[in-house]
């Protein structure tokens, strides 16, 4: 092989007065899967955004096959064979899957679009991803993971030489991830080079040939994967030892039940679900994406229609018909969809922080006490170690991890007793994840009760005292103590164990 296909020399990038990328020398060999890892703010996204034409470098050069290139736009980069799959979806919601795959690259026959070709080609690409998404489906009707698959299909269909993937597996299930990895390897076999950004070190270990670690805008190291263990990678990323990812399991639930859910059904999503939550308990909800976990929780807190079922809070029947009813009983829900449902991305941190608890800030004549709001914001920034350019920063300008901290701060404003956290660590870096795990633990220690929904089993196993498994809208398993292990949970989740009836539920 004749040298790297893509290379940068002394690459620097400034945003305003702030330098975020320092003297980056990065090399991508042909046909290589090259993982780029680092905490949020390490400069991963900035680096790949320069490579894909989103940003222009302040200093230094990008060389494609040893020739300097200057991409003015993503289109320039795509034309040169460099294609990026975005962390945030870049899909037109009202168009079909096929129209999205060919967006901007529509194939014509004469004056008209060659619909047949495009449909067939879309079908082929989707088939190679082993996904059941129809080319005719509207993107807005797809689940998050299906959207990700479409995003991947879109990039693959462009026949790129260099494929850049920014956190492609954040919303995918394990089986979807396996399919994706197979696809990446088959692309690799065809000579495609892949730059793969991920927070999931196990995936990196499994997939990558080479790893580049970034920290605070500098390159720490580039090494073949064989020389590295997950612990070593984590240590390089954070610059400190990472052996204690999860807090100690030193807490036992108190005997009193704070939340008792009986026979809750949300039409089309959750069927006759019953479970309970004890004081000081951290209860996990596992299951494949689409198993109805989110919808069940939304039904419980009044964000979704409930056709039947009863909810008791602290032993008393609670009639919860709207989310505000849940709030008044000190139950909060953190949405999995941070940008779509959790935070107003165009508003400031302060605006978001107090939105749920605004009632507490109302003073004489209905006026909001802005001084008190500012105090709360300063406290939240300190408590959650939120890193923002200024206290008036708009959510959009924060990293995912810091956004999530604001979202947590927002729900903590109402001083909840029961917290339902839906994918609390999705799309955030290892360091922040660890902070969140310890935060959850600390809450339980204070006597609060917590439900955690997550698609990352190690996380649930690391944090929770008990794990309920859902499949196709039913609660199919309830494991605790020594029974908590990945194999057992997957057996329930995949339907090998547990069946469709609810015999297994609520063992305690």
């Amino acid at each position: 092989m004749a040298g790297p296909i893509l290379r940068t020399t002394n690459l620097c990038k400034d945003f305003g007065p702030v330098r975020v990328l320092f003297d980056m020398d990065f090399e991508l060999q042909p046909g290589e899967i090259h993982a780029v890892i680092g905490e949020n703010g390490a400069g991963k996204s900035t680096l790949v955004k320069i490579l894909s034409g989103y940003h222009q470098p302040t200093e230094g050069q990008v060389l494609l096959r040893d020739r300097p290139v200057k991409f003015q736009s993503t289109k320039d980069a795509e034309d040169a064979g460099i294609c990026m799959i975005h962390q945030e979806f870049n899909l037109a919601n009202d168009l079909t899957v096929e129209e999205n795959i060919f967006l901007g690259k529509e194939r014509r026959r004469g004056l008209f679009l060659d619909k047949r070709y495009m449909k067939e080609h879309s079908r082929e690409v989707l088939a190679s991803l082993e996904t059941d998404v129809s080319p005719n489906a509207r993107v807005k009707n797809l689940s998050v993971s299906q959207k990700q698959m479409v995003e991947i299909a879109k990039a693959v269909s462009r026949n790129a030489d260099v494929l850049i993937m920014d956190e492609p597996t954040a919303v995918l299930t394990r089986s979807e991830i396996n399919v994706l990895f197979r696809l990446i390897r088959s692309l690799q076999a065809k000579g495609v080079s892949v730059i793969y950004i991920s927070h999931k070190l196990d995936e990196v270990k499994e997939l990558a040939d080479t790893v580049t670690v970034l920290r605070d805008g500098y390159k720490v190291a580039t090494q073949p994967i064989g020389e590295l263990t997950e612990d070593m990678m984590a240590t390089m990323m954070v610059g400190r030892e990472m052996k204690d990812m999860f807090p100690d399991k030193d807490l036992e639930p108190k005997p009193d039940t704070v939340l008792d859910v009986r026979g809750v059904t949300s039409p089309g999503y959750a069927v006759d679900c019953s479970f309970h939550l004890k004081r000081q308990e951290i209860l996990g909800f596992a299951g494949l994406v689409g198993s109805g976990r989110t919808e069940l929780m939304e039904a419980i807190v009044g964000l979704r229609q409930r056709s039947s079922g009863q909810i008791e809070v602290n032993g008393q029947t609670a009639s919860i018909h709207a989310y505000r009813d849940a709030i008044s009983r000190n139950i909060v829900y953190l949405s999995e969809d941070r940008k779509g449902k959790g935070l107003l991305v165009e508003k400031t941190m302060g605006f978001n922080l107090t939105l749920l608890a605004l009632k507490q800030y109302v003073r004489r004549l209905g006026m909001i006490d802005e001084t008190a709001e500012a105090v709360s914001l300063r406290k939240a920034i300190e408590e959650f170690e939120i890193r923002a350019p200024s206290n008036t920063a708009v959510i959009n300008t924060l990293s995912g991890g810091n956004q999530q901290k604001v979202a947590l701060g927002k729900i903590m404003e109402v001083d909840p007793e029961i917290l339902i956290l839906d994918e609390p660590t999705r799309g955030i870096d290892v360091g922040t994840k660890q902070q969140i795990y310890f935060f959850i633990h600390e809450l339980a220690k204070q006597g609060k009760s917590i439900i955690v929904i997550s698609s990352e089993l190690p996380e649930l196993i690391g944090v929770c005292q008990r794990i309920i498994v859902m499949r196709s809208g039913h609660i199919v398993g309830d494991v605790s103590g020594a029974a908590i292990n990945e194999e057992e949970i997957m057996r329930y989740a995949m339907g090998i164990k547990g069946g469709n009836n609810n015999e297994q539920q609520s063992a305690g």
Binding site: F15, G16, V18, R19, Y333, K347, L355, L358, T397
Partner: protein, 333 residues
């Protein structure tokens, strides 16, 4: 996604923010300079008083529209609603002249009726939009036609005129002044101040912006989205009622042509003022400046024969677009 990366966007957005806030006032100042250059009469206090007083109707309605638009809705019915309320008010007052007499009580009854009708009409718009799950554009397009026909029907296709005796009593509400400032201007000012406080300092205002910014997030923040949205239309209805109370004594009449296109002028005032049509932001003082600008443009054109009357519409269009460009000019790439 770097936590440092935001520096650029943050800096830029703060600059834009200032310009968005100041923009309408810069445009207004430029327009005033232009007006004075065209005809010195423009800057005379008599003329400025006329212009500002005229801007009061659209201005007061536009304050209400700022609520609706910032919460992500739109109300096209305001012009027809004003005509309808004017009509009912006139009929009612003419009726009460016979029973209650020619006095302030009759006028007060008319005013009370106006407020009641405004609130009811706004509530209707709001409830149909939220409970019926119909786009506000369609709902208010419908009610726009309904109110317009109702006033035509009430007026029998002609004009409803307020009894001449009552006009004498009611007249000062438009033509009178307090501390040298015309009453309509006071009303405009008071409505704007209250509007600003409610929008910027209360929970309701904060919720409007949250809903306009992203209704899903608002719902997931335990906000009663439907109720807040409905209330924005009620506020709009109330503003229309206040505008009507000031409008009726001016000419003492209402007809099918009353308030035609006021809805577009009100919306234009809001947008010129820097509030985004898609919702989520509000610039109430910008709205005030926008409303004043709109009536100023017409005034300046009437003060000159340098521009062909046939081109009035074109000049207005250009000035409106330039005004919006001025406030965006800080954005730059």
């Amino acid at each position: 996604m770097s936590s440092k990366a935001p520096a650029e966007t943050q800096g830029a957005s703060r600059f834009t923010l200032d310009f968005r806030t100041l923009g309408p006032f810069v445009a207004l100042a430029l327009l005033m300079i232009l007006g004075t250059m065209i005809n010195a009469t423009f800057i005379s206090s008599a003329n400025l008083t006329n212009v500002l007083t005229r801007s009061a109707f659209i201005g007061i309605i536009a304050v209400g529209a700022t609520f609706v638009i910032s919460a992500g809705g739109i109300d096209l019915s305001v012009g027809s609603m004003a005509a309808f309320i004017s009509g009912v008010m006139i009929i009612a007052m003419n009726h009460f002249v016979n029973t209650v007499g020619v006095n302030w009580t009759t006028v007060m009854i008319g005013m009370g009726l106006s407020v009641a009708l405004g609130l009811a009409a706004g509530l209707a718009n709001g409830l149909v939009t939220t409970k019926g799950r119909i786009d506000s554009f369609i709902v208010t397009l419908g009610t726009m036609g309904i109110y317009r026909s109702l006033v035509t029907y009430l007026a029998d296709g002609g004009t409803l005129s307020l009894s001449f005796q009552l006009r004498g009593i009611y007249r000062p509400v438009y033509y009178g002044s307090f501390l040298g400032i015309p009453i309509p201007l006071w009303a405009f000012f008071v409505v704007a101040v209250i509007g600003w406080i409610v929008l910027n300092k209360t929970r309701f205002g904060r919720y409007c912006l949250a809903i306009g910014s992203n209704a899903d997030v608002a719902a997931y923040s335990a906000i009663n989205v439907d109720r807040i949205r409905t209330l924005t239309y009620v506020v709009q209805g109330l503003c229309v009622a206040v505008a009507t109370i000031i409008y009726v004594p001016r000419l003492g009449s209402a007809s099918a042509s009353t308030g035609v296109l006021w809805e577009l002028e009100a919306i234009a005032a809001v947008i010129i003022g820097g509030t985004a049509l898609k919702g989520g932001t509000s610039r109430l003082w910008g709205t005030v400046a926008g409303a004043i600008m709109l009536s100023m443009i017409g005034n300046i054109l009437n003060l000159t024969d340098a521009i062909s009357q046939y081109l009035n519409g074109a000049v207005q269009g250009v000035i409106i677009i330039v005004a919006v460009l001025v406030q965006r000019s800080g954005k730059g790439r």
